[in-house]
Amino acid sequence: MLDPIFLSLKVSLIASCFVFVVGLATARITARNVFAGKDVVESLFMLPMVLPPTVLGYGLLVLIGKRSALGGLLMDMGIQLIFTWWAAVLASAVVAFPLMYQSAKAAFTSIDLSLEHAARTLGSGEFRIFFHITLPLAWPGILAGLILSFARALGEFGATLMVAGNIPGKTQTIPLAIYSAVETGDNEIAQKLVLVITLVSFLTVFWLNRWLRKKVTVWKKGDETRVAVSHP
């Protein structure tokens, strides 16, 4: 009963960390650059959100299975991903990625570009601009993306079942445990786990909504002054 809860939290936390870093980087690139095939790349990034998770899971299974080039390469390096909780992290991260990417991209495009330009004329390097201007200004949107990714990763079922398997104590996350319990008529455990995951998801989204409302109103009131004061 406790195993799936801890495993779910662990898997979705780590998946969110990956998604955070990769999502920020890719969103920053597509939000500020124009390059050939951008539309194609952006559509590809959104694909995991549109495809049914089982399709995605099957794709991942083939991709990291030992009969594929990538899977074979990993195998030679002694890395077995299928049926480990790392595969669950992979599945959750892939499924949650579009949420992070889309939110971050929207946040990056919505901020006033002249602030970045101003910093550039004052001699700031790109890294400094990113961490001191872009990131703080885009923060509410980015955090929203992060929370949504976490929530999505927490609820991931289809792709995880495919690549990580449903192994109690090893890869059985809360959604998989609920599936097992329902399939075998173990209603009591199913109901308890449904309660847990609903509660965690509800609290996450509830907190996000409250926090965002507070943050956004503050920012609308004192946007310019705030930036000017904290980065003289």
């Binding site: 662990k10 936390l13 780590i14 960390c17 955070f20 099957y58 299974l61 083939v62 299975g65 030992k66 009969r67 899977g71 077995q80 299928i82 049926f83 961490f131 990131l135 703080p136 923060w139 955090l143 992060l146 079942l161 495919m162 398997g165 449903n166 192994i167 109690p168 104590g169 090893k170 097992s180 329902v182 399939e183 075998t184 008529g185 904290s230």
Partner: protein, 263 residues
């Protein structure tokens, strides 16, 4: 603002440390682990048998991957590390055998099952036999015959008992046996066809009749060792255990028919 960024960085660091701490510790050093992909309908029986086996062979750890037989088959085809496969359908095992992924001489038909007719509380006095379905049931649920083995057997039964033509338009197809059970148990569908082993979970509905022998092709649960298994000896030992009379008793408790171990 900076604090939030720091907090986030801190969370990332903690996660990384967590990883470092957890990754190597997961596998116990001197235990052999047998990885078993098993049809999810066998979960309860196998859990019980695992406890028994742990007392017999304390050095062997049994790890189960539970799912629909078709999915388990795909995973094995893609090289997922598996020692033993117990399938709820003959077809999945045949497919793996055709691809040369199982060890042929280890394959046995471990279990059998029966198909039963279940009806809701309200209809239990009107629908008592398969023949009653023809005019007394407003709706009947079976699994999708193409994908759900129980649905295939169900259709065969209705066809061979000559009621299929009369009920075909009133059939509600379900994605698995569990869904049939839920439909009937909740009173939304009058009758359904499920395995006897699944009928244990019924809460309101009752078992009205058993499909007569010969009205459908035999229901078997085959098992076989996967060719790529790295623990062949331990796997064979566990397979032998599953065929003992002790194991047969456990399977019988869960309403499966043990085809082996009846001495």
């Amino acid at each position: 603002m900076k604090n939030t960024v720091r907090l986030l960085l801190a969370i990332c660091t903690v996660c990384t440390m967590l990883l470092g701490a957890l990754t190597p510790g997961a596998v116990a050093a001197d235990k052999t682990t047998i990885q078993i992909s098993a049809a999810i309908s066998l979960k309860d029986a196998l859990t019980k048998l695992t406890e028994m086996y742990a007392k017999k062979e304390p050095k062997v750890k049994l790890q189960f991957n539970l799912g629909a037989s078709g999915l388990l088959q795909k995973q094995i085809e893609e090289g997922a590390p598996t020692d033993l496969f117990t399938s709820a359908g003959k077809k999945q095992m045949d497919d793996l055998a055709a691809k040369g992924l199982i060890v042929p001489d280890t394959r046995v038909d471990l279990l059998g099952n029966e198909l039963v007719l279940i009806v809701t509380k309200e209809k239990k006095d009107t629908i008592k036999t398969f023949a009653d379905l023809a005019d007394k049931a407003q709706s009947i649920s079976i699994g999708q015959p193409e994908t759900v083995p129980a649905g295939k057997y169900g259709k065969e039964t209705l066809v061979s008992l000559k009621v299929w033509d009369k009920v075909e338009k009133r059939i509600v197809y379900a994605k698995d046996v569990r869904q049939v059970l839920t439909y009937v148990d909740s009173g939304n569908v009058d009758a359904g066809l499920i395995y006897r082993s699944d009928a244990v979970a019924l809460q309101g509905a009752i078992v009205a009749a058993t499909a007569p022998k010969g009205s459908h092709s035999p229901i078997v649960y085959p098992m076989a060792m996967v060719k790529s298994s790295k623990n062949q000896e331990a796997t064979r030992k566990f397979m032998a255990f599953l065929q003992t009379s002790d194991a047969a008793k456990v399977f019988a408790q869960y309403r499966f028919i043990a085809l082996k171990g009846k001495h």
